[in-house]
């Protein structure tokens, strides 16, 4: 494939064949070695062929191959001539990250860390096939699908201020429950308020280093040693079923002939299938917001019980990294509404964007990039340059480089636990094989991912955080 180097961290696949626009890859030479090894570039080129695509098909520094769209793929489409594709969002709709700050330091936790983690482990349901503690009726679930985190706050999970510190204020307003299948409802009912498994985790972290004092201060991050809590999970079986249902519906309506990859199936955004998917996807986004809202509430409860108070445990932000949203961006020389697909990519709105809350409007939104289990994570701030570079998007994590199969062959979960313990990181899990699958060696170097993001201007580095307690599903 014709891949041109534009600069140290920017590469381009020029328009060729059926491509309507070029593809741009933000990556260092080192990360590109991994990216070239799988189907990421072919997938980025396939995305560039979709109807109504604007500007470019973008690839973030942590990209790896996905289904249809690459993971770490960003593409925006015209509302009238463009499409929406479940493959551009992914199966885990609104998989995302929530970050809470605390007024505690690592020293305040000394001696209590084990108990804290054990209590969180008891309180937050996690693991394969693990149901939630909340018995829901269909009527209540429908309300949750429409109201998202707002429902959770109204029902005693968390604080009103959490909402403004959540993307979309915790509620996608276009959500509707009427086009959601019975199957999705059935899978959603038992799983609300659960962490799940796979790459999902909950970490107690401490601030390791601050790179940008003013932005850190705005985010409530004050000094090295400050304790934070990070929650990484999504819409569980509900979102997976919505994706599955609409791939089938779009196949049946539009056929699969001519698609370079069946996972790229799509519908015109304004068609009835396109709108039904969009509204159901928004419902899944809301499910995930409510899910993280409940988990955050339980975590605060545990802190209050074990350490005496959860005062100061303000939410820094909650970001979704698998989503399609209607946003205003520059394209074709003017400001227009587009449907932006971010699949394994985080929104990175810079200073001044009206969508971000007042408290962050002068520094840009917090961008939360989790590392792999037991490694560093990063907090970035959105930039104005990202608008022109990537429709205001950046990376979402480390990105896998090794198969789960290979990881379980090479690593043992119990061994990883002991190694982390030697580094002062407590680990609790329901499943040691799952821990082996998530070994940090199976992931890209997150430090390199955020360095590229910072250097290119997709997101500005604010702070590095490291885990002190890890809970795996």
């Amino acid at each position: 494939m014709d891949l041109r180097k534009i600069s140290d961290n920017v590469w381009e696949i020029p328009k060729q064949g059926d491509m309507r626009v070029p593809a741009v890859i933000y990556s260092s030479a080192r990360l590109l070695d991994d990216i070239r090894r799988d189907m990421t570039l072919t997938q980025a080129r396939n995305v560039a062929c979709l109807p109504g695509i604007e500007r470019m098909s973008y690839v973030m520094p942590d990209a790896h191959q996905g289904y249809g769209f690459p993971i770490g793929g960003v593409a925006a489409f015209d509302l009238d001539s463009g499409i929406i594709s479940p493959g551009g969002v992914g199966y885990d709709i609104n998989c995302g990250v929530r970050l809470l700050k605390t007024d505690y330091t690592e020293t305040d936790l000394a001696g209590k860390r084990k108990e804290l983690l054990a209590e969180i482990f008891k309180e937050v349901p996690a693991g394969v096939g693990k149901g939630g503690v909340t018995k829901l009726s269909r009527g209540v679930l429908k309300e949750i699908l429409v109201k998202g985190a707002e429902w959770a706050v109204e029902n005693g999970y968390g604080r009103k201020e959490d909402l403004e510190r959540t993307e979309e204020y915790g509620r996608m307003k276009d959500a509707a429950a009427d086009a959601v299948s019975d199957r999705a409802m059935e899978r959603g009912l038992p799983q609300l308020g659960t962490l799940g498994s796979g790459n999902h985790f909950l970490e107690i972290q401490k601030v390791h280093e601050i790179y940008d004092e003013p932005a850190a201060r705005a985010f409530g991050i004050r000094a090295a040693g400050q304790v934070l809590v990070m929650i990484h999970c999504g819409s569980r079986g509900f979102g997976h079923q919505v994706a599955t249902d609409y791939i089938e519906l779009m196949e049946n309506a539009y056929g699969v002939k001519g698609l370079p990859d069946r996972e790229l199936v799509h519908a015109p955004f304004k068609s009835s299938q396109g709108q039904q998917y969009y509204r159901s996807m928004c419902a899944a986004v809301n499910y995930a917001f409510a899910n993280r809202q409940m988990i955050a509430h339980w975590v605060r409860d545990v802190f209050a019980r074990v350490l005496g108070s959860s005062k100061g445990m303000d939410q820094v932000y909650d970001v979704c990294h698998n989503v399609a949203k209607v946003e205003t961006h520059e394209a074709g020389g003017r400001s227009r509404k587009l449907v932006v697909h971010r699949k394994g990519a985080t929104r990175s709105f810079g200073p001044g964007r009206p969508e971000i809350p007042e408290c962050y409007r002068s520094v840009g939104q917090p961008v939360i990039i989790p590392g792999s289990m037991g490694t560093a994570s990063f907090i970035l701030a959105g930039t104005q340059e990202a608008e022109g570079l990537s429709f205001s998007s950046t990376a979402h994590g480390a990105g896998r480089v090794m198969s789960r199969h290979e990881a379980t062959r090479r690593f043992r979960g119990e061994r990883i636990r002991d190694d982390l313990a030697r580094k002062g990181i407590e680990l609790k899990s329901t499943n040691w094989k799952g821990v082996a699958e998530e070994a940090s060696e199976a992931y890209k170097d997150v430090d390199e991912v955020v360095r590229v993001s910072h250097e290119v201007g997709l997101g500005r580095l604010v702070a590095k955080v490291v885990p002190i307690g890890v809970m795996k599903g």
Partner: protein, 140 residues
């Protein structure tokens, strides 16, 4: 003949399943999928679920059939242990499939070690060469 083989895949689960007939290959694919989450060979057949799915082509039929295993696990805590009486019939537009899934309800006696979220079309292949081989990638 072996029923299936788990293959390496960067992010997710991938397998090939084999059969002298398309039906047998589909049935073995369901066992391969189950093997990513629990040990199906140790599941006692105490419960049965009848499944009936339709697909516009064989690929969609397979994706939907395998989706039944995930759906029954998540909503009824059903662990698949065997597939009986699997029949595939051509229809006016596409195919239909019927099968009787045998297994048990999740309890202390069984261990779970993985979570399959969805069945994908990524690198999905249905090949006939003597017998049938199907290849499937699942999202984990």
């Amino acid at each position: 003949m072996e029923k299936y083989k788990i293959l390496p895949h960067t992010a997710d689960g991938k397998f090939e399943a084999y059969g002298a007939t398309l039906e047998e290959a589909f049935g073995n694919a369901a066992l391969a999928l189950a093997s990513l989450m629990w040990d199906w060979s140790k599941v006692e057949p105490r419960v049965r679920h009848f499944v009936h799915v339709r697909g516009i082509d064989r690929e969609q039929l397979l994706v939907k059939f395998l989706g039944e295993t995930i759906y029954l696990f998540e909503t009824k805590q059903f662990l698949l242990g065997k597939v009986d009486g699997l029949r595939i019939r051509p229809e006016f537009e596409g195919f239909s499939l019927e099968a009787l899934l045998g297994g048990d309800t999740l309890s202390e006696r069984y261990g779970l070690f993985g979570d399959v979220k969805a069945v994908t079309y990524h690198e999905l292949k249905i090949e006939e060469c003597g017998g049938f081989t199907v290849q499937v990638v699942v999202d984990m």
